[in-house]
């Protein structure tokens, strides 16, 4: 997934969690980059009409940006489910984050052929847990 899509996905998720614009500091923490890098990329995304940015408040995805963010989130869900359900990876969240930049959406679509993903994906993504909501539920059940 390219860098722009990773940013859009993260802005979209932070907006949901904060119920408002995504602050630069929060985005920098989540993406593991400097605030300066965030500002630079948010500026580029703003120029492309994918993000609106309000000084001192933060970034918000536009309708076009949200469509891209949802696609990116779906790619991410495929990766998480593939790692958890096909390769039996326990720490699928950390690995999905590591591998996300290297896996293109066309590759994820191919992996999607062999995983059992629900039609409502990515609506059920759990932003707080940073994971596919269904995997979170399965994890909770396994712990009980």
């Amino acid at each position: 997934m390219n860098t722009a899509d990773q940013y859009l996905k993260t802005i979209f998720l932070v907006e949901q969690l904060e119920d408002g614009p995504a602050a630069t500091g929060e985005l920098a923490d989540r993406l593991g980059v400097s605030p300066a890098s965030v500002n630079e990329m948010v500026g580029k995304l703003e120029d492309r009409g994918l993000v609106a940015h309000e000084k001192y408040k933060g970034a918000t995805v536009t309708d076009d940006g949200e469509a891209r963010a949802r696609e990116a989130l779906q790619t991410y869900c495929i990766l998480e489910r593939f790692l958890a359900n096909v390769l039996d990876v326990d720490d699928f969240r950390a690995e999905a984050r590591q591998l996300e930049p290297v896996i293109d959406e066309t590759v994820a679509d191919r992996l999607d052929m062999i995983i059992d993903r629900e039609p409502q994906c990515p609506e059920c993504f759990d932003a707080e847990a940073d994971a596919c909501g269904l995997l979170v539920e399965e994890g909770i059940e396994a712990d009980d």
């Binding site: 593991g32 096909v86 390769l87 293109d104 992996l111 062999i114």
Partner: protein
Amino acid sequence: MYAVSSVAARVDSDDQLARLLQIGIVLEEVVEARAHRHYQSLPVEERDEAIEELLSEASAESAEHRRRLESLVEDLDADSIPFEDVKELVAGSYGQTGPEDFDGVLYDQLHGEETAYKFYDDLIDAVEASDATFGVDREAVLETLRDIRHAEAEGVEEVAKLMEARA
């Protein structure tokens, strides 16, 4: 609460490299199994030597790629993947998503090889972007990945030629 993630497309550790190679193994398994099933699923009147040869070569080539990737993963001393389960999942998925006619078969084959090419291309970039030391020789990894990428490019070309010839 959140681990630091990064937007860098870079392979920084043996574990990460091994996991990506395992994803490559699964992609090859998908191409191998589907190429084999594709031919079997074609109606007799749609079969000919050219497509038989193409699919049989594609299946054998993917098996060879898979073995080369597996050998690298073994040298990295990474956890193995439940490969028998993967085989079952791949076989099971065909019933739901398999194409039913000749053009669909060729398109699916083309798509599989293009996707594999993109995967290896991105992986090579990510290994080249890193200065990490791996448990296997970096040049050997890159050489294997470049060889396989080249074969995928040739595969794409062969399928495209066959599609053109039938158009």
